[in-house]
């Protein structure tokens, strides 16, 4: 129970993978043994690889009739004891939202890889965007909290999927890999290590599965078939799962706990990368594929003697509010390039005291380094 180190299912060494293939391999390494999905561009290669590789590891793969069935069967499998995931893109992610709220309220650990494409609507299925970040946070109705990670390389697609399963199991919450089409289809050399650190579900026979007096707010999680006579419901419930649909105190306590168990632990969840921040007057805050261009851009500007830096958000939710506040006190300006209409720039404005300058591109193309160099030069 808890963290342990196991042998990787894949031989250690270097591999040349696409981002989507790396998601499949990372999931298997993390112990994922149930996958249900529905085809959608640009994420389908994850499902295709899982369907082949699960034969080697005795996993259960189901191609379902739609995204609703995919996410719901994942939740069913998780309560039957599985580590489970699905992958999708914008339209499918929209269809999954109701069940994501169900997973949050029933504290069901699961992983969804959302390989983002240009929306809204059907949009441009083969083109890149980062337009689903607010949907990841608030897509389902009601107040809940989830964890969302933002990989910038094929290596990180592999590593973050393992992190995602561990965080999901540790915090009993849905965890999202907010990949983007450009990384899903990018091919890079990655390193697979011989050992993997995985978190196994905490079990405690007879303990209430939906309430705890522990400070971390995370109850142990039993599975079906263990004689616990479980009551799992998406209605408001007390600590043993009995429906309490008109008790204000029970609802308040439950909703508060499923939010706080993530927010109160955000310092240990949030991961960032810092580049040349010490003396930077302008700091670029970036994530996902765009952070690759941002790093190239600030390295170029540094060669010219410009005092610029980069803060890379590896974790989108929970948001790095305190870190943003700190850098905002030191820098004169924060520049935020995004492949959306300013979803994260708006968050940064909440916490930064300095000027925040959004740079938004929603044309289905990546933001190139030369664009960032030009814009940052103009505000230096």
């Amino acid at each position: 129970m808890g963290y342990r180190v196991i042998d990787s299912t894949f031989s250690a060494g270097h591999y040349y993978f696409s981002g989507n293939e790396a998601v499949a391999e990372g999931a298997i390494a993390a112990g994922c043994r149930y996958y249900a999905g529905y085809p959608i561009t640009p994420s389908s290669e994850i499902m295709e690889r899982i369907s082949v590789r699960f034969k080697d590891v005795h996993g259960v793969f189901m191609q379902m009739e739609d995204e609703l069935a995919s996410i719901c069967s994942v939740i069913g499998a998780v309560w039957a004891g599985a580590k489970a995931m699905t992958a999708t893109s914008g339209p499918g992610f929209s269809l999954m939202q109701e069940a994501i709220g169900y997973a949050a309220l029933t504290e069901t650990p699961l992983v969804i890889a959302d390989i983002q494409r240009a929306g809204p609507g059907t949009g441009q299925a083969t083109k890149v965007a980062s337009g689903d970040l607010m949907q990841a946070k608030w897509g389902s109705h009601g107040d809940y909290y989830i964890i969302a990670l933002s990989p910038w390389s094929v290596q990180e697609m592999y590593d973050q999927v393992i992190d995602a399963f561990n965080l999901a199991e540790q915090y009993r919450a849905p965890v999202f890999i907010m990949g983007e089409e450009a990384i899903g289809h990018l091919r890079e050399r990655i390193e697979v290590k011989a050992k993997v650190r995985v978190f196994d579900r905490i079990k405690k026979k007879g303990a209430p599965p939906f309430g705890t007096n522990q400070d971390d707010g995370i109850p142990p999680m039993p599975s079906f078939g263990e004689g616990e006579k479980l009551l799992v419901t998406g209605s408001t419930h007390n600590e043993i799962g009995i429906r309490k649909t008109d008790d204000p105190e029970v609802h308040s306590r439950l909703v508060s706990r499923i939010n706080k168990k993530i927010l109160n632990n955000r310092e240990s969840i949030i991961q960032t990368g810092s580049y040349h921040l010490e003396d930077a007057e302008v700091i670029v805050v970036s994530y996902g594929f765009t952070a690759r261009s941002a790093l190239f851009a600030i390295e170029q500007l540094r060669k010219e003697g410009k005092r610029v830096g980069l803060l890379r958000l590896k974790t989108i939710w929970p948001f790095a509010d305190e870190i943003i506040h700190d850098i905002g006190q030191k820098a004169k300006k924060i520049f935020v390039p995004e492949m959306n209409r300013g979803q994260i720039a708006g968050e940064i404005m909440k916490y930064a005291t300095c000027e925040v300058i959004p740079y938004n591109q929603t044309n289905g193309e990546i933001i190139h380094p030369h664009q960032i160099i030009k814009e940052v030069r103009s505000i230096l």
Binding site: Y34, A69, C72, I75, G76, A77, G225, L230
Partner: protein, 253 residues
């Protein structure tokens, strides 16, 4: 509920949530009677339900693992649990609106895959919990809170639908045919594959009040008069069959 079946109820449960005259209490009794008859341990059972009155038959009443899910998605949740842990004996119990309207796609696809689930559809021909709106199973002409002039659309024949989709075993009985219904549930639990039982269950509160049934007993009497066996149906003309409900077992053989 018969006293000898109380051991199957979760400790602390002392009443059902159903309206007076609702057929779901009878159905709850009959499901447990089938499990008792087969001596199946509740430790190996998983009951999955959706949203609506019938979804409250197992949750929280049955003393077993229960999964009370989203509206329409019970069969999809059940598929995940069964496929990952085939040792679980998985029974889905939910209503007609839940399983066949909002959840209709999962119903036909899971029948097509012949996943080893027992699905019991408590069919009261109306949306009971939300106030009596027309359902995909409401008879032509039925008065509901959204068809005050009578329902204009034909209902599904659920047994034909599920059989056509590829189920291993399909049966239809009313709660007024308790022995036949228990027999069908027992049979379905013994079949490895997708099995579907349409259990007709009266809703006096939402359907009866609007459709000229003076009492719950009238609804039960009406079901008893209208339900005929497949053998009896062979001797009826199409016109005579219009008002009848054909009950029995349906297979692809």
């Amino acid at each position: 509920m018969a006293r000898e079946l109380e051991e199957y109820l979760r400790p602390g449960i002392d009443s059902t949530p159903f309206c007076p005259g609702c057929g779901h209490g009878i159905l709850m009794n009959l499901i447990l009677r089938a499990i008792d008859g087969l001596k199946i341990s509740m430790d190996e059972m998983l009951f999955v339900s959706g949203i609506g009155c019938a979804a409250w038959i197992p949750s929280p009443n049955f003393n077993a693992d229960t999964l009370h899910t989203l509206h329409g998605r019970a069969i999809a949740f059940a598929t995940g649990a069964k496929m990952f842990n085939p040792q679980l004996n998985v029974m889905v119990i939910s209503g007609d609106g839940d399983l066949t309207s909002i959840g209709g796609n999962h119903l036909i696809h899971t029948a097509r895959r012949n996943i080893d689930l027992t699905v019991i559809c408590a069919n009261n021909m109306i949306y009971g919990m939300t106030g009596g709106q027309v359902a995909s199973t409401s008879p032509l002409g039925a008065l509901t809170s959204t068809t005050m002039d009578g329902n204009s659309y034909r209902p599904f024949d659920l047994c034909k639908l599920v059989l056509g989709a590829g189920a291993s075993y399909v049966a239809r009985y009313s709660v007024t045919q308790p022995l036949a219904l228990v027999g069908a549930i027992k049979k379905s639990l013994g079949i490895h594959g997708f099995t579907f039982i349409e259990a007709l269950s009266p809703c006096p509160t939402q359907f009866g009040r609007r459709n000229r049934y003076d009492s719950p007993a009238d609804m039960l009497k009406n079901l008893m008069e209208r339900c005929i066996s497949r053998e009896e149906a062979d001797n009826f003309s199409d016109d005579e069959l219009k008002d009848k409900i054909v009950t029995g077992e349906f297979t692809n053989e």
